[in-house]
Symmetry: D2
Subunit: 494 residues, 4 copies
């Protein structure tokens, strides 16, 4: 049973036809640069696509100690203000952006916003966590029985309590102690008074990269695009299972976990990460373009126009158009002034859904056979509405090409997915989906095609897959023990 928590209800955020999977977090940290919190703010702004609901920054300054600010809303609306940033002095800071778990009334309170801070007997530490702990419920129960008091509904808080109870003296050792008890996916950026710490789980499910800035400065970031904004140089990824401790301008690398074969999240390439980021040494944009190329080879169709579903379908559409020789065009136009949250919306706004965000470029579409390239199909609700808009505008035929395999399993490693029965691909075959969407054709890229696009020329290694692709394959690299306890059924062995 999840613990009941008091909440402060602030605003209701309708689900406006947003039919995507969402990364739940982005993390960023800087050590060795004065006014580090300003750099963290810029980094978080560049990582905003990983979480739009709230953000937080903790900094440390010898004079004023640890300081923290956590706010709902975009980084740019909060952490750009002189008056707020002045309260976050010092050369060491970390930050976090967070995605809202859509639909759960009153789900998020400011106390759920990271970084979390704990005062230990040897001094304080703050941590920011990207990922999800799959045995958090069990850990929480155990900790509460031993007298820990939780302040948030966040799984990540377990880590702080485990650290508080460690018998080790130093924070890095306490953190190792804590993380050895934790199952699931985690890319963590943490700090003490002097140290900036980065860790990835043994499988390396979520990304975390290391950058250098100036002579003395170090940066940790979920993605490389956030290094670019502050002019930092990309050094390398934190390796799966590695802990890096950065202090006095030096980086120390530790490997506190049992070694394992890496399983990086393949969906980071498909959708989550920004196209200008480089992950695991590969350009996200190029991978997506290559998915479009593979799709054109696997699923060609005779048509007049290749049109991306903005904005995430664009690189794959460019690849598809290039490979197929069919002209590329912007058949759907996105409203630049759209956001996610509406406070107290009218009935009409609730019903508008995707039309608030997208409009068809009627003059281009009319009379054409259109190939729409989208990154994924989750519930299928948006796909239906887009199809209707395209047909209303006079398209002759509508063909969907999807830059990922059918999403038929939920993610338990830090992505907000609907329950399995809400996933269209969990209940329908490709053909049934085509019929359900009432379109002329529908093709998903194959799992092997996707692996080829990420550079695995031989496709997926069935015995030992190179990536975590559980959302497509149902092959979970870490058993989701809390969910199993709640009744989730794993895929039957084949």
């Amino acid at each position: 049973m999840p613990p009941a928590h008091p909440f402060d209800f602030d605003a209701w955020n309708p689900d406006l036809g947003d039919d995507k999977l969402h990364e739940e977090c982005g993390v960023f940290g800087v050590n060795g640069v004065s006014d580090a919190a300003n750099f963290v703010a810029l980094g978080l702004h560049a990582l905003q696509h990983r979480g739009q609901e709230a953000g937080g920054i903790v900094s440390y300054d010898p004079e004023s100690g640890f300081n923290s600010a956590r706010r709902f809303g975009y980084v740019r609306d909060n952490f750009t203000k002189q008056s707020l940033m002045e309260t976050l002095p010092g050369a060491l800071a970390i930050g976090h952006v967070r995605y809202s778990t859509a639909g759960s009334k009153g789900a998020t309170q400011i106390r759920d916003v990271q970084p979390f801070f704990g005062e230990f007997s040897m001094g304080g530490a703050a941590i920011a966590h990207n990922g999800n702990i799959t045995n958090a419920d069990a850990l929480r129960r155990e900790l509460i029985e031993r007298g820990s008091i939780f302040q948030s509904s966040s799984d990540s808080e377990c880590i702080i309590h485990l650290m508080a109870r460690s018998l080790q003296r130093k924070v890095p050792e306490r953190m190792m102690d804590a993380l050895r008890r934790v199952e699931g996916a985690f890319s963590i950026v943490a700090m003490t008074r002097t140290k900036l710490i980065g860790v990835r789980d043994p499988l390396g499910v979520r990304p975390l990269v290391i950058g250098k800035i100036g002579d003395e400065g170090w940066v940790l970031s979920s993605e490389t695009c956030a290094l670019d904004i502050i002019g930092a140089e990309y050094l390398r990824d934190v390796e799966p299972g590695e802990m890096v401790v950065i202090e006095d301008g030096e980086l120390t690398s530790l490997h506190p976990f049992m070694p394992a074969a890496p399983r990086f999240c393949i969906f980071e390439h498909v959708y989550f990460s920004r196209p200008d980021s480089i992950i695991g040494g590969r350009s996200v944009y190029e991978t997506r373009r290559q998915i479009g190329v593979e799709l054109a080879r696997e699923a060609p169709v005779d048509a007049d126009l290749v049109c991306p579903v903005p904005d995430s379908g664009t690189p794959a559409a460019i690849g598809y158009a290039h490979e197929s020789g069919i002209p590329y065009g912007m058949g759907i136009i996105r409203n630049q002034y759209m956001g996610r949250t509406f406070i107290e919306p009218t009935e009409q706004i609730r019903n508008m859904g995707v039309r608030l965000k997208l409009n068809v470029n009627r003059a281009l579409i009319e009379g054409k056979r259109v190939i729409l390239v989208d990154d994924s199909v989750v519930r299928g609700t948006t796909s239906r509405k887009i199809k209707e808009m395209i047909l209303d505008a006079g398209a002759a035929e509508v063909h969907f090409r999807i830059a990922s395999p059918p999403t038929s399993w939920p993610c338990f490693y830090g992505v907000d997915t609907p329950q399995r029965e809400k996933l269209l691909a969990a209940t329908m075959s490709e053909d049934e989906m085509r019929e359900h969407l009432a379109i002329d054709s529908l093709k998903f890229i194959s799992l092997d095609g996707l692996y080829r696009a990420v550079g695995e020329a031989q496709g997926r290694d069935v015995k030992c897959p190179q990536y975590c692709d559980a959302c497509f394959s149902g092959d979970y690299p870490v058993a989701p023990s809390d969910m199993i306890e709640k009744g989730f059924e794993l895929k039957a062995a084949e």
Copy 2:
């Protein structure tokens, strides 16, 4: 001398490297549909690109009379709320979005936000104005001497005072009286208790279109994209010099002005309008794509990649790539979470400029000869920064292709342009600009090429130009009399 006005100072909006010309307004009106204000709100949301600073809606309901709400900020943050929209009942409503005149401290107060409302002896009327009155200073002086009291610093307020003093009994006649005294550009949407009124100046400089919704409903809008969002059907444009009066489900067309040869603003095609709009019967997207085609013909260059400067350069880049056969790619990535206004920004934010908004897709650019396609060059400040980012990312060559001729004259018809001496093209030749920007090549489309792209196969008719192109040519179709009085020098006759 413009009158001094008291102001309420609210926030300081730095100019964050935004180096574009800006349309100052969008207008929208609905008659004959219950909860008309809701439709106006959606229409204004679709027109938000024409003005982001503030918006207003006036509605009329027989029971509660005229109601009004005016707010700073995006439409979506204000006019989507149940509690606000409930205060705007009725089947007749008009609205306005407004662009901020950047940089002038305390320029805009809520009293400057339209629609304006006046209580006349025969009843009230509200008007929303897109455009600019070029003899507003003279009119204002005269009106003040006769006892009118101005409440705003907006030129548009003259129209209301001229209407109040008209000896005609009915509002449409009063409006004709008033507009005959007005010089400049205007597309107006106005309302009385029963009538929705639309007017365009004799030259038709700014757009205004007519739509139908349902059996009885009529819509007036700056652009067709706002008809699409509410599911209205595009009927036709309000003609230059036409006044349409819509009452009891019927439209009456009047022509109160001396006929003149139309001079629609060609920059609406180049930049202001949304690509999914149709203006004067032409698709904006297709025109922009065709500009790219013309550019590729006029100014070819050997290169590896055609890359748009997001987002406005995209259609022209697609056209250029298609015509030239050089691959199209997203070499610059836009941050989706960027807005225009920062409250009390830190020094660092002020200095970031375009980096807050754009990042280079390093993996794609590196080592390539890149053609950057942008819509225009105004001050040149952004072009310089983009060039630097592209070179920092390792591009081998940088070529700019600009989808408009050099912008060398200010606009006085409703566009916010810098003073002439701030326009790069007003002080430098194309070659000097290339040198100033330190790039490998720079080419603007020719004025004739631009005219061909908007469908004038013979190019520009020098004796009687088909469009207003004063910003490129210095050929002002209406003498800017206030500005001349203040010392502005027209182009010398050639």
Copy 3:
């Protein structure tokens, strides 16, 4: 017919059992002191009892011209902020506090908040008005027909429009022109770029005093208590019918109106003014104490305790106790943290009424025969509730002594009074009221007793009353012409 006006609806202010007449405004102005707006803010804070809904300040500074800020809420919550006050530079400033007309939905918008500002052909002027214009409807109709556009629902705006249309060149002359057309009560503080102007109507119904501050500074204020807070010295009252123009450190006195016998509002002494103010040379506190003395003589009763209804009944209770020899005690305690406005209150809050504000000192009251001294009875609703609270607490007897005669006529000179039929004394005799309130005795001071307390040893001069006492006597010194047109019936001649 009152004009329909668009409105912005902000908050609903329930009438929480507030059963008093309310002064509608306070005015204040300073000339010849740097940062004059700061002094105005302090003065308005001291005058806050004259109007709590909103306040405004206009200042003039040669460099930045006229500046203005108008805000809803208390002076102390707005005009104490550094960032706001910095926008109001200069050595000349005026201000206004305004009372909300309770109960009329959406009645007040920021545009109704004074000072009003007008740009005339010879320069700008701002005015702040305390009082009420009794022919405002007729003036407004006439002005609208001649092309004036009203921006507020305030009667005071007529003055600005009349000034704008005056053929005089200078602002003081324009103001005289305008005020000669105006009927009713007015104490006005106005300003141009160099002049501070004060005027009182010929009867001098509302107060206005002159103070000196430092060597060069002059002050105009509704009451002397606002001179005290800024350390200014009380010089004299502006005389009825006088206009003072203060410029370059010199005061010029003009008398633009036909002379008339003064009729100062006697209720200012009874309730409106602060007890520490001196009006017409008399201490308000001492007058109120003396009313208590007169009451004790006119209406003695055998009792154990004299108890004021806080806070306005206190001085009269002290006088009553002193004269009668019955002990004085605080039988009713006021909650210090009570305000007037509740945003979106719960049902329970709406029903609490006076209990939110007052509580009975049970230990003191129990078993006692209590004399409650209150300043007035308006609707009688509060008196009933207080009586119930006193009896619930165990009082043996309850006697009301009221420090004013029965209020049986509405005020049309700047006081917010209920319609006549809502005034308890308009429909009941003293005895019926006693019965209605179900108390042991009820006595109002006589009109002559009241005149004696304000120093008229012979009581009221029936032929030529020394004060305006229309609310008690129905004897209106200026015919309320707008109201008569709407059907208000004057008292029949006796």
Copy 4:
């Protein structure tokens, strides 16, 4: 060493000449009445004088579980809103108001606002604490070493952590366990899903009373005035050392502590409590009036006027005037629209101090020999300013009579006192103080006189004082162990 804590800085609250000791909290709880939170809100409004900075309410409802809202600002500005109160359903609720510790930068965050909530292994509980724990630092150190993570800087949080670690199963038993480890003063209102719990420390330093409402409802409150506002009946005080558990309409009384002689805070009678409250069976008003009587006997002086320093000096002034026969009058008038907090105040506002709040009734004071009756002298800063104002207004003589003995020792039991060296009476004799204040005479009531006023006819029992009077006597009934560790020196034995 107190732990460093991250903070969110919101506003700066200048110390505007407020020269009083302040109670730090008020607590209130209701069980057995539907919409209990509404009653708690009203109770907290009545207790607002005990804490103005922030307030919080927790309620329990079987359907939605525990709900909580904590807000900065007055109860009336937050907990009267429909939308907020709807989030606090249920028939069981507790609440807390909190005083700000003036001057400590960023001292209070929303996380410091009570009630605190803890999720224990057997279910949740919320507690609200009035008082202060004198061994909190030691407890906090021990708890942190054992892995507890503190979320606030509040001493009260120790209680929750001690409860979380108790091996008892039920919340009341856990609370007993916890409180037996705690030293200092506490009056606690707590709740589980079904129980309302009240406890007072063995000495009963802070007040806590029991009330009944309706047939089934029970109330706990810091003072009886908060019972009055909701129409509850005062039953009795919770006894020193008693724990009451109220469940299913029944009250159970427990006595978990070692018995001790009670030491109720005598300053509650002098200043903290509201005059309409009854404490320990005595009327606060009557006690204060009696203090005035005693003062008149102990320290008579020939004068013309007895004048209270508003508002707390009023009852004693009434008593002094009655006993001495010298007339009572309101020589100082309080501005009703004054609050405590200014956001970003101008320099001038910071310097105004007491003049923003008080003004002299010049007409009454002039030429008189004035006795000013005040409740206490803390730093003496306000007394000086008041004296100046009185002399400026022309008083002939100024005599201070203080309704408490010299305050020369800090309180460690839940009152915000300055450091000892800031207390005027800690560094000066009565005569030195008179000279320092430059007044004609200064007299404090004697400690025995004060005891007589609270009903101890024999005065203070030196061997076993009937009250806690440490702030006057330096006789601390509980050793302030944290403070002693930090170097505080107890009074030397005499």
